[in-house]
């Protein structure tokens, strides 16, 4: 099926992009006070780790990093069926009054973020929630936008954007996978 792949970000470009995103996150939240960075399972968690590391290098502050698995908050259990594996949610802090930044790899329809917002609400009432994504590929089905964007690009709905991270996939890259048109 797959005929033509093109690399949107290679590992060095991805590293640069994440560093810039880290800076923008600090700027957006007026520093690091009360900041919590929360990655969406799975690849958002690794990206959140890198962002937290960069913030530490620049600001010498360790910002807490949480993880959110939104599987149980999806709106398609009845239709698509259970995901093969539900990942762990790890948010051992009270979120009341915190500045939460949700980190995900690709922003597409917005349904994942909608589910993440619902789940966050069950953990407290942050003073502010913002969204940082590595790739915004367009195609929103909900009124959701990202505050910090690594790379913005319009991708045909028939194509896929795959994000690879060293920790899980052995390499860093963002690849657009084009499917054969009938």
């Amino acid at each position: 099926m797959t005929t033509d792949n093109s690399t949107l970000l290679d590992s060095r470009a991805m590293d640069r992009t994440l560093r810039r995103m880290a800076e923008e996150i600090v700027e957006l939240n007026d520093g690091t006070a009360d900041l919590i960075v929360v990655g969406i399972q799975r690849r958002g968690v690794q990206l959140a780790d890198r962002i937290v590391r960069t913030i530490f290098e620049r600001e010498h502050v360790s910002v807490p990093r949480g993880a959110l698995d939104i599987t149980l908050y999806r709106d398609d259990l009845q239709t698509v069926g259970p995901r093969p594996v539900v990942g762990p949610t790890d948010l051992p802090w009270n979120l009341d009054g915190k500045q939460v930044v949700i980190v995900d790899d690709v922003l597409y329809t917005g349904r994942t973020v909608r589910a993440a917002l619902d789940e966050l609400a069950d953990f407290g009432r942050p003073s502010r929630v913002s969204l940082a994504v590595l790739v915004d590929r367009g195609g929103r089905e909900l009124p959701i936008h990202a505050d910090v964007v690594g790379k913005k690009i319009t991708v045909d709905p028939r194509d896929r954007v795959d994000v690879f991270v060293e920790e899980l996939d052995g390499r860093d890259a963002v690849v657009i996978v084009r499917t054969e048109r009938a």
Binding site: T79, G81, P82, L107
Partner: protein, 320 residues
Amino acid sequence: MTSALGKDLLDLESLTPDQIRLVLDTAVPFKEISERAIKKVPALRGQTIVNLFFEASTRTRISFEFAEKRLSADTVSIASSGSSVQKGETLVDTARNLEAMRIDMVVIRHGASGAARFLADRIESNVINAGDGTHEHPTQGLLDLLTLRDHFGSLEGLRVCIVGDVLHSRVARSNIWGLRKMGAEVAVCGPKSLLPYAIADFGVTVFPRVEEAIEWAQALNILRLQLERMHAGYIPSLREYNRVFGITRERLDRATRDVLILHPGPMNRGVEIDSDVADGPHSVILNQVTNGVAVRMAVLYLLAGGRPELAEAAKGGGER
């Protein structure tokens, strides 16, 4: 409606090792939900579940109810006393009437072996067996597997002995099927009158003496002496049973290594298990109860999903 587990969960005998692993792996993240301040996720919002309990039960019924509520399902629990069952309504009629009110799942406990299967064959809703006669109690088997896997890391090659009233025990049957499928070695130990006639056909070792069982096993699953099912003289007396087969501190102290203690409850303290064992450092009896909620959440979640005919329409909803 077919899910990774099929339409129903009736027994562990018909599950594959991969299906059992899927339930256990799914249960792990569900444990965290019960630790949250708001112990609820919306996964089963709008689903209606009926708990149909024709036999007395506290732990299992409450555990299922918590599991259902923590997944946001709407639930109704019916006990046979105080329902139209007392007026002579048959099981199928009760279930069909419930289905006419548009329910999605039935959790059933019944005194007759095969009752869950009987119901599952006749109604469209998902059926979960919460114990049928002396046949199986699959969610108890699964929570025992999860508790053992939590402690030992793996079930492969693990030596587990089931002690006591195996004859009347649906827990024993589900444990034997589940453990053997996952590669554990299983033994049973108990008075001959309380072991099924063809027990060796299950592929288990039989220990006539409890001391040998303790020496061999890494974990003991101690069964409740089901006094309510014993209409004939299976054992001479409770005191004698305790003296010969009871799991006591002294017996465990004589063993060369520590043995993990499981009990499905409710316990007859001083009969099949002594209090200082039940409350001792190697007891995971309350972990079993905690895991029970998570395992039942996993089963409900896995059975609820997946209508292939609608899957196509929903494609593109996934974020890539």
